[in-house]
Symmetry: C2
Subunit: 364 residues, 2 copies
Amino acid sequence: MKQLIVDLDDRSYPIYIGEGILDQISTFFRKHQINDQSPLMIITDDNIAPLYLKKVIVSLQESGYKVCEYIVPAGESSKSLSVLEKITGVALDAGLDRKSSIVALGGGVVGDLAGFVAASFMRGIPFIQIPTTILAHDSSVGGKVAVNHPKAKNIIGAFHQPQMVLYDTSTLRTLPEREIKAGLSELIKHGLIWDAKFAEWNQLNAEKLLALDSESLEYALYNGCKIKAHVVSEDERENGLRAILNFGHTIGHALEAVSQYNKLLHGEAIAIGMVGAAKLSVHLGYPQRIYKETKSVMKKYGLPIQIPNHLNVDEIMEAMLHDKKFSEGQVVFTILKDIGEAHIQRGISIDLIREIVENLRLEE
Amino acid sequence: MKQLIVDLDDRSYPIYIGEGILDQISTFFRKHQINDQSPLMIITDDNIAPLYLKKVIVSLQESGYKVCEYIVPAGESSKSLSVLEKITGVALDAGLDRKSSIVALGGGVVGDLAGFVAASFMRGIPFIQIPTTILAHDSSVGGKVAVNHPKAKNIIGAFHQPQMVLYDTSTLRTLPEREIKAGLSELIKHGLIWDAKFAEWNQLNAEKLLALDSESLEYALYNGCKIKAHVVSEDERENGLRAILNFGHTIGHALEAVSQYNKLLHGEAIAIGMVGAAKLSVHLGYPQRIYKETKSVMKKYGLPIQIPNHLNVDEIMEAMLHDKKFSEGQVVFTILKDIGEAHIQRGISIDLIREIVENLRLEE
Ligand SMILES: NC(=O)c1ccc[n+]([C@@H]2O[C@H](COP(=O)([O-])OP(=O)(O)OC[C@H]3O[C@@H](n4cnc5c(N)ncnc54)[C@H](O)[C@@H]3O)[C@@H](O)[C@H]2O)c1
Ligand SMILES: NC(=O)c1ccc[n+]([C@@H]2O[C@H](COP(=O)([O-])OP(=O)(O)OC[C@H]3O[C@@H](n4cnc5c(N)ncnc54)[C@H](O)[C@@H]3O)[C@@H](O)[C@H]2O)c1
Ligand SMILES: [Zn+2]
Ligand SMILES: [Zn+2]
């Protein structure tokens, strides 16, 4: 088992990563003095509940915790205010109070939703992340929690750091293959923006990671979390450095938006987005290898690198220009100066971006 | 004009109190460098809009601000997630971004709602309070913002401090008389819990305050805000001292709940609650004058001191025991050790509270 600390003054918290953590959930709760006088609420989704919920509940109950649960339908549409309102009602009925904790058992959807429930219930109660997807190595670190508005993703939310993250790699074995690949996309991103050595390791270990080899997973998730944690520590409220985490996301979000959040997975969309941003880096004069290696690593992991033909370029551009990241109308893009070295580039022309997007339809 | 600072490290902010501030809104915005590149949104209600909205909009527009507005129906029921979702949609359409500010023009309802919109929109943007009720001297200081859940008041919210509070006492002249009295109830509370001199001043100046004499209002609101600000500075997140602000609120909230939020105003309910808490103080051995003076000041301001006969004691007790303040099942009560000196008393027996409540029905 590996452990690291997200360093945020009095909001610092540990991440534990390893096989079999789910069997010892209550040990971690006790170790970190999670209150056992007030009831806890576990929030999860209906794919994860039949697999892991019972194990978590039994472990906690045997240790003397009072536990209630809320199971949402799997999928992005559960990240809504109306689901939050229902959960809040059940929490009130179950007697949760200001000393209760919310436990998120699941992927990024459950983590973001449960995190915002915890942030807003009685103006903020503790919460604990138990991630069950690879992508959640990203979403469970950094304290960004949110629900969606019909008009925009993640637009209603908060910064709310968890008490701890308990990451059991054995839960990843039940993930659908497509979700595994999409999650690895975000892991690859962390190497590309910050750590050339880890980026190279990712190039060399695609097979092992895709096979969910336990030791490789632990190593890779540890590094991914560490990079994310480091960036977040330096910039908790997203005023500067944190923007490098958006590598691949400007184009990626637009692709998600125009494919109406159901055709491309987030990790797939940003894989294409990273290839685009890498190409933009080269356009701006940075080394050719940025583009070559970004593209090759995506291929090794079976991730898409081409914008699907049925998506319309005008609509993609339109979606991009509505993105909240274009603060005050400035076009800002996260690019790479080299593998392992991200950079925030301002004042990029819309025409150049359009050219990149058009090229991405021909990529292969 | 009077000015004071709420001292909260990097979240400190000024409160300006005086006649005619509304005519110079944009001056204050400029002075405090409110961003003029991104659009602002003013949130208000349909009683206040016809009286003051235009003045505020014109002042801001003439100074070069881009302004949009959202008018909610007056009343507690606008403090809901569904209204928040609608406002968020309009904010997105109007192009608000992370540098935009939300402006709350109104009483506590508008302030709490707009504050939570600001806290949650894009995970938090600046907001500015322009209070227009007397009660808002309380609600606009301290950063507690929230909406209601059908099952509980103020249960979904955040701590989000404003950039500044611009309090124009001339707006109070259009307040219905009942709202004036109810607002003064909270002002009286601030004297009773913290400042014997101010408490005495309130005893002596009921007539002037009820007539909204400009100088008296400025003095009283300044003192009320100062006491609230002081308590909040010492305990931003309500871990300790802040509980003294609940004087009169334990019984008061229960009365509001059983009268279904529409028969008794908040200020009226806590006036009765303060008389009850003062009586409890005497029961616990503190000076008789606590009860005498609390009761007499309420009478001078025309505030109720008796629980209306049609309210059922069992239901009141039930509502009180469901209050979120009874953390972990402990019965905690804010009482007075003397006029101007509040105290948090733990471990009070439910039977004693019931006796107090029963007596409050006979009060006159
Ligand atoms: N907060 C952040 O910083 C941040 C960062 C990135 C992404 N996100 C958010 O994360 C979300 C995407 O996260 P995700 O990819 O984990 O999606 P997800 O939570 O929807 O999980 C993907 C699918 O896998 C299923 N699943 C989860 N764990 C499983 C397991 N162990 N076995 C079998 N099935 C399992 C889920 O039920 C779901 O159907 C998006 O809403 C995105 O906005 C947030
Ligand atoms: N955040 C806090 O710390 C805090 C503290 C106390 C109360 N509150 C909240 O404040 C709310 C009550 O505030 P309130 O008493 O100001 O209620 P309110 O905002 O509903 O205002 C009372 C009534 O007066 C009208 N009104 C407001 N200003 C007016 C004016 N200048 N002229 C004419 N009419 C005017 C309103 O339209 C409304 O009908 C409650 O929701 C309560 O939960 C919050
Ligand atoms: Zn992402
Ligand atoms: Zn009050």
